[in-house]
């Protein structure tokens, strides 16, 4: 599974910059990010090339952050593929708590990051593979 760094941020000017400043100092590369807004605060979720190191350096600076497992699914850039992926998860009654995705123009590939609730402990890699998608691990992510 891929690792995502989830960061607590106040909703005011300069907070995102403070995070990118810290990551830049360590020359860490951000692959993807999203923000879940909750009024006076929000959660910033980032995929970086070295998630463990990113989490440690942020925590050292007093930032409230944690590492979370996320499914990074490769979805070919074609109509109907998100439907296929979500159907696969629904069949196994897996709840998607948060998701974000984008397409890499070069590879015509889409990547979906999914935070899921999987209380039954279903082998999601297999389920997703059965539907013709593949899950990226950390190593593969760096090689994108």
């Amino acid at each position: 599974m891929a690792k995502q760094v989830t960061i607590f941020l106040e909703n005011r000017p300069g907070r995102m910059k403070s995070i990118s400043d810290i990551l830049l100092e360590k020359n860490l590369n951000i692959w993807a990010f999203t923000i879940q807004d909750r009024g006076d605060f929000g959660l910033m979720k980032i995929i970086v090339d070295k998630p463990d190191q990113a989490q440690i350096v942020l925590a050292e600076r007093g930032v409230a952050c944690v590492l979370k497992d996320v499914l990074a699914v490769i979805v070919p850039d074609r109509p109907g593929n998100l439907e296929k992926l979500t159907t696969a998860l629904l069949q196994k009654n897996v709840n998607i708590k948060d998701a974000y995705g984008f397409v890499c123009p070069t590879g015509k590939q889409g990547i979906c990051y999914l935070e899921v609730e999987n209380p039954a402990g279903i082998d999601l890699e297999t389920v997703i593979a059965e539907h013709g998608f593949s899950i990226l691990n950390d190593k593969e992510l760096y090689d994108l």
């Binding site: 607590f8 106040e10 907070r15 925590a59 007093g62 930032v63 409230a64």
Partner: protein, 436 residues
């Protein structure tokens, strides 16, 4: 000016005779105080072992002050001077550190207190023809029940509605032609602002007067509210340690509050040195409760700042007048009439593991009502990265605070280290309310 009295003889007693009466009652009180574990020890230490050790009122100054914390230390019965069988009522307030304070009353104590309230009511010109809507909270808070019984004694028609529910309040005012209110200034203002919503204007009502208390307010606020409603508003002062409301009340002249000096000895002291200040000088108000025997309190420091008017009032009452409260000597906040100490809020916050080190209390006023916002930092080590955790944390903080201070607050979550640190002179309370 229509000057009425409930008990003219005592209300106009010459100052000399008033002092003599105070001395007699103080001696009697010392007898009761000696029966309590708390004062027995304390008075002995001050060289007082019987009422005879009090020769004149000056001797009162030999007695050390009693403070709020003494009441907590003495909880539950360290200040009780009679058998529980003689106690007919208790009032209580939630405590700063989880220990509440409690006040005990015998039937006679309540009777004497009610009589003082009757005096205040009549001093403002109210009488049996009035319909009185009591909009102060009933229950453990003394504000509601105090005026309730006073008004019944005078013979007013009492509507014991308590606080809140503006629509119902207005409905009652209209249905029963309410003529007198007992209310906080902020609520009176709030109701006026909401009147258009219910298509009611003050002209549709029969309001004549309001007794206003529980919150300090300025003369300008009184004048503004009098104009908005077209009524007379009288200031009332009290605190549960001195029984409750009715310690001091304004008369028809509305030139500050007559202290019922046969019921209470008032002293104004320098809060720094504890020395009694010359008459007219502003300082901390200290009361000795002469009319409550179940639970005597001698030289109780109110933390309220005020001064005494030495000159007599044209109404003829001889009880000296106390100014409105000009400030506090501690950090107590008054939020919609409820007394709250920052330490109460701190206590709650620090009991929640997911809350970080620093916090800030923000007070604002909107539509006449105080709003409390509590800003807290989250504790990094217990952060799980889930919004549901943070939503639950907000709800938990609000629930716990409401259970302690009875007020709803807006909880704001902040990053660790984002709020001013405790060290040095961190401003924990930011009060942005306009002065009432």
């Amino acid at each position: 000016m229509d000057i009425r009295f409930w008990n003219q003889e005592i209300e106009t007693l010459a100052q000399k005779d008033l002092r003599q009466l105070q001395l007699t009652r103080l001696r009697e009180l010392i007898g009761y105080a000696m029966k309590t574990p708390f004062y027995h020890k304390r008075l002995k230490k001050a060289g007082i072992s019987s009422p005879e050790d009090i020769q004149d009122l000056e001797d009162l100054q030999k007695i050390p002050f009693t403070v709020k914390d003494d009441l907590r230390q003495a909880f539950p019965k360290g200040l009780l001077a009679v058998d529980m069988e003689q106690v007919v009522r208790i009032h209580s307030s939630s405590g700063t550190t989880g220990i509440p304070t409690v006040i005990y009353y015998t039937a006679k104590d309540l009777d004497r207190w009610t009589d003082l309230l009757a005096r205040g009511i009549v001093a403002t010109g109210a009488g049996p023809a009035d319909v009185f809507q009591n909009m102060m909270s009933y229950g453990l808070f003394t504000g509601g029940l105090g005026l309730h019984y006073g008004a019944e004694r005078v013979g007013l028609t009492v509507i014991p509605v308590g606080g809140g529910n503006t629509q119902r309040q207005l409905q009652l005012m209209r249905d029963f032609k309410t003529s007198v209110l007992h209310i906080t200034p902020s609520y009176l203002l709030h109701i006026h602002q909401r009147m258009p919503e219910f298509r009611i204007s003050p002209a549709d009502l029969n309001l004549k007067k309001a007794w206003m208390g529980a919150e300090p307010h300025s003369e300008n606020t009184r004048l503004k509210l009098q104009e908005l409603y077209g009524i007379d508003i009288y200031n009332s002062y009290g605190l549960s340690e001195m029984n409750g409301p009715g310690v001091a009340f304004e008369c028809a002249y509305k030139k500050d509050l007559h202290v019922w000096e046969d019921g209470y000895i008032i002293e104004i002291i320098d809060p720094a040195t504890g020395k009694v200040l010359p008459e007219g000088q502003e300082g901390e108000v200290v009361f000795t409760n002469l009319i409550r025997h179940a639970m005597p309190l001698l030289r109780y420091r109110t933390r309220d700042l005020a001064f005494l008017h030495p000159e007599p009032c044209p109404c003829g009452r001889t009880g000296r007048r106390m100014s409105r409260i000009t400030g506090r000597t501690d950090d107590m906040m008054i939020i919609n009439g409820v007394n709250v100490f920052p330490s109460q809020i701190e206590e709650i916050l620090m009991s929640i593991p997911e809350v970080g080190n620093n916090y800030q209390i923000h007070l604002t006023r909107k539509e006449g009502l105080d709003r409390l916002a509590v800003k807290v930092e989250i504790y990094s080590k217990l952060f799980t990265g889930d919004l549901s955790q943070l939503d639950a944390l907000k709800a938990k903080i609000n629930d716990k605070l409401r259970a302690s201070i009875t007020i709803n607050s807006r909880i704001e979550l902040h990053e660790p280290g984002a709020l001013p640190a405790f060290e040095g002179k961190a401003k924990r309370v930011v009060d942005e309310r306009d002065k009432l």
